[in-house]
């Protein structure tokens, strides 16, 4: 094992939003920082649906909204319940916006460049094989037969936590604790996108679909408009998907693209990209017992810090903010004499006090809702049947109550509906 002479204050493993942000903040505070990325470019192993909530990022990066690679500001939000070939949709439009669409590779790249501008060293195509320990403390990383040493290591390796598994800090992922995102990016001209979705330039659409879009597997579908492309995909619980699908998973997205309701949007597009990625689904199961060890902090997806709010995910802002807090915590630990376990405890404390953990606690039972089949099959059906009774008028017209009773007849009891409504309104 060859020990590399150059020593760093901090080594950050993984240049996704969490790692790149940690490196940016560390370098900005003057720490000698090494950012290591397995892929060819920062973010090339990351994936998301398509939307980022901006507020926390503005705390971290100066003039974020002016400098970052923002495609469109989300000003149109749609949620559709789909049954067969019909959909009932709620649409919310406002000039006020708190989120934007982008490509995660571009955003991660931008974040990593900010880190480099602040003096961090970014090395790509470097796969860290394991964390390096000296006298029981984490003091660097091992890459093949070489050791790079540092005062602290920040683990931002993402959801597939091979390093942490190796250390016995986390267990192997269980299919029931993660969801699978499968996505296509379809190239379309900006004007075409504007016309199809009723948007102005720079205006974006976020569209969530539930019901008959995931082959009956609990989950949902999403559509986000980028500048000159549209991201569309599905999110399904991995365990359920594995049990129920005996075909290749990409077929689910293909069926979504060719869905009678959606086909018209994508028929002239060209598929640019296909990707799949795991998504932390159940933070209570995924989060390591603690996020700090002697010389080590865990951030982003690796720490399970992703919020499933039911109708939206918050991943990028949570990841970036945890990286930011880890950097701040290191500054405090450094001031107190070094990155010992005792001194890094502050990371967990700062995280607990931030919106990150507060929101994760608040929405902790959403993942249980995800397992409630009725929400993904019965209710979309019920609502579309109700709508069809009210809207498809021939000779006789229906009153609301009449239509409702007929729609739910034999499907779900009133008591169940009330109980479910109550549960959803409490958990979401």
């Amino acid at each position: 094992m060859k020990h590399i002479e150059k020593r760093f204050d901090a080594i950050v493993v993984g240049a996704g939003p969490a790692g790149a942000t940690a490196a940016y903040q560390l370098a900005k505070m003057g720490y000698k920082t090494l950012l290591l990325e397995r892929g060819r470019t920062p973010g090339s192993k990351s994936m998301f649906g398509g939307r980022v909530y901006i507020r926390p990022l503005k705390d971290i990066y100066e003039d974020f909204e002016k400098k970052a690679p923002i495609h469109r500001w989300v000003k149109k939000e749609r949620i559709s319940l789909v049954y067969d070939e019909s959909a009932t949709t709620i649409e919310y439009t406002s000039n006020k916006t708190t989120s934007f669409t982008t490509y995660l590779t571009q955003l991660s790249h931008w974040m990593a460049n900010q880190a480099v501008e602040q003096g961090a060293i970014l090395l790509t195509e470097i796969r860290v094989d394991r964390l390096y320990k000296e006298d029981g403390r984490y003091r660097g990383v091992v890459v093949e037969d070489e050791v790079v040493k540092s005062d602290v290591v920040i683990d931002a390796e993402g959801i597939n936590r091979l390093l942490l598994e190796r250390e016995g800090i986390v267990e192997k992922l269980s299919p029931d604790h993660v969801a699978l995102g499968v996505k296509e990016v379809i190239k379309l001209e900006p004007d075409t996108i504007n016309n199809l979705f009723g948007l102005d330039n720079n205006e974006g659409l976020s569209w969530i679909l539930m019901g008959d879009v995931t082959d009956g597997i609990p989950g949902g579908a999403f559509i986000y408009t980028n500048r000159d492309s549209v991201s569309l995909g599905i999110v399904v619980l991995l365990g359920e998907a594995a049990r129920r699908i005996d075909r290749h998973i990409y077929i689910l997205v293909e069926e979504l693209r060719n869905h009678p309701l959606l086909y018209k949007y994508f028929k002239d597009g060209r598929i640019m990209e296909y990707s799949t990625h795991l998504i932390p689904e159940d933070p209570s199961r995924l989060m390591p017992k603690k996020l700090y060890y002697d010389g080590l902090m865990i951030v982003g997806d690796a720490a399970g810090l992703l919020l499933n709010q039911g109708y939206t995910y918050r991943g990028v802002d949570f990841a970036a903010y945890s990286g930011y807090i880890a950097a701040k915590a290191y500054e405090k630990a450094h001031g107190n004499g070094g990155a010992s376990e005792e001194n890094l405890k502050i990371y967990q404390k700062m995280l607990e006090e931030s919106f990150v953990m507060k929101m994760l606690r608040k929405f902790s039972s959403v993942s249980r809702l995800m397992k409630k089949e009725r929400l993904f099959s019965t209710y979309p059906q019920l609502i579309n049947l109700l709508a069809s009774k009210l809207m498809h008028i021939e000779y006789d017209s229906y009153k609301l109550k009449e239509a409702f009773d007929e729609a739910r007849k034999g499907r779900v009891g009133l008591i169940h509906i009330i109980k479910d409504l109550w549960e959803v309104s409490r958990k979401l």
Partner: protein, 269 residues
């Protein structure tokens, strides 16, 4: 005496993701990530193997816009000692003649060298000109399709094995010389973290402009390029019938396929 090796690399758009604009016939490079020409990585690997075996230095050279620095960093990551990027607006629009001219001037300026190694060809233009042209600018012997090189220190020569369709040829060549390595001969090694750190933190890459080189500017770039691509014709699309057998029984499928072929007059029983 250890070997002083120069290896040429080209920074190319990743052609696996490049499309051609059907109207203009040019490559659509927008948004396409560039890579080091894979066949050049084979050349780098050969150079590093020689360095491992006989000692010496490996210098990578390239003519490209500044973004190619990332490519030089990559090969330094593999173990190349230093990189030189010839980069100047005056070099833009070059065909292979003008490119090989600038590269040969870079090599002349480096001065001390024993062996120049090039890749088989590039994935974005596939001319395989540069090795031969550099050799002629520098009036050096040239061996193409090489798969192995052995160095004889005593008389400063190399034994080069060259691959032909059905045979190998072996040459003894006195140094200095130019050798192009047959594609896929060697798997390029992975980058090392220590080497990559060196690329980032030590001054191992130099950028040379036309001012740094003893160059006739009329021989470089667009002005020095006699090649003209006058037109690109697309291969006409042949309309094809498309039938799919949808059942699962392989016996039925075979029968169905044969019946179809007979119907089309492609098969007689």
């Amino acid at each position: 005496m250890p070997l002083k090796i120069i290896v040429g690399i080209k920074w190319v758009p990743n052609t696996t993701s490049v499309n051609i604009d059907p109207k203009t016939g040019t490559l659509i490079r927008e948004g396409i990530p560039s890579v080091v020409n894979p066949h050049d990585l084979t050349a780098v690997e050969m150079a590093l193997k020689l360095k491992d075996r006989y000692g010496g230095t490996v210098t990578a050279i390239s003519m490209a816009p500044p973004s190619a620095l990332a490519g030089l960093e990559h090969v330094i990551g593999m173990g190349v000692d230093r990189g030189i990027l010839a980069s100047d607006r005056a070099f833009a629009g070059a065909d292979t003649l003008a490119t090989s001219y600038v590269l040969s001037k870079v090599i002349e300026k480096i001065g001390e060298y024993d062996l120049i190694i090039m890749g088989h060809e590039t994935i974005d233009s596939s001319t395989a000109h540069i090795g031969a042209q550099v050799a002629s600018w520098l009036r050096l012997p040239y061996v193409y399709y090489a798969v192995d090189i052995e160095y004889n220190e005593q008389d400063r020569s190399i034994i080069v094995r060259r691959m032909l369709e059905n045979a190998y040829e072996t040459y003894k060549v006195y140094l200095p010389a130019v050798v192009s390595i047959a594609m896929h001969t060697y798997e390029p090694r992975r980058v090392k973290v220590s080497n990559k750190l060196r690329a980032k933190t030590e001054d191992v890459i130099q950028v040379w402009t036309s001012k740094d080189l003893d160059i006739d500017i009329n021989c470089a770039g667009l002005r020095g390029s006699p090649t003209v691509v006058s037109a690109i014709d697309f291969v006409p699309k042949v309309p094809r019938k498309n039938l799919v057998f949808k059942e699962r029984d392989p016996k039925k499928a075979a029968k169905w396929l044969i019946d179809q072929l007979i119907q089309e007059g492609l098969l007689e029983l």
